[in-house]
């Protein structure tokens, strides 16, 4: 029963057997690349996970490039030249994406600095020295306490 369940809930995986390369090393590289290339019609799915026609064509193109002897970097270049940076699930680090990459750490830094300043300021305020009770106050306190 569990096995059946596991079989039926297998994660979406769209690479069809007829697409696969016979060379296991090349096929493994194709999978690695296919996991990081974004399908251009399905917003946020890797081409390996998408059964869109275009995703199928892109997987085939990746394999064709690998069989032709391209390095992984050359395959990525091939795809970026045609579909732009959009096709990379992990955006590249460059001028246009600086805010994307550094925005998070920057906010953390600013918030940390603000907290630090606030903590310093709080510590700098001296606790006012308390004056001893006057004779009148002492008498009222005693009355309240029933002494």
């Amino acid at each position: 029963m569990l096995l059946l369940l596991a079989l039926f809930t297998w994660p979406a995986f769209a690479v069809e057997p007829r697409e696969m390369l016979t060379d296991p090393a090349l096929e493994a590289r194709a999978r690695e690349i296919g996991r990081t290339l974004r399908c251009v019609v399905c917003q946020n799915q890797a081409i390996d996970d998408s059964s869109a026609e275009v995703a199928h064509d892109m997987r085939r193109a990746v394999r064709e490039r690998l069989v032709a002897g391209d390095s992984d970097a050359a395959v990525y270049e091939f795809m970026v030249a045609r579909y732009g940076d959009y096709v990379l699930l992990k955006p590249p680090f460059k001028a246009g994406t600086l805010l994307l990459w550094l925005g998070g750490p920057l906010v953390l830094l600013i918030a940390g600095a603000a907290l630090l300043v606030a903590a310093r300021r709080r510590r700098a305020v001296p606790i006012p020295a308390t004056e001893p009770l006057s004779a009148e106050e002492q008498r009222r306190l005693d009355a309240l306490l029933g002494r």
Partner: protein, 179 residues
Amino acid sequence: MTSNRLLFLLPLATLVVMAGFFGWSLLSGRDPAAIGSAMVGKPAPRLEAPSLRAGEPALDTALLKSGKPVLVNFFASWCTPCLAEHPLLLRLKERDGVAIVGVAWKNKPEEARASLAKLGDPFTRAGFDLDGKLAVDWGLSGVPETYLIDANGIVRLHFRAPIGPRELSQILALVKAGS
């Protein structure tokens, strides 16, 4: 302390900034799903495809180097948005004399032919890309998509949607400048 009072305005200021961004997104027509084009400004890819018409030679990259701007349109008979742009393509051919190369994408040639016979054929030359191999070279994401190749074989426009009146005037402006 006034600085602490100002701090209370921070959530409100955040709200204003966010509302401003959302408002701008709604009103400016920004499309977060648009994937843009990496092809514009680059030399057109190879254009090799079997001819859709009997007795005509296969499509050849030389078609894009005729010294005149050429429109390349990927279409399919099964594609509904293609129907929307079809009259504009016919107009471009008949009224403006623009050379249009059509490529039927993932479309059986006989079905593409039948559809063109019914709707009118706006193409100077037509081919078909049954398995979508040519399309990946063109950075195609689906149909319809249209590219304007200038007289020097450089991609000048790439529309990932059916062309409408706005796209039409962009095409015409460049065709007139380039011929």
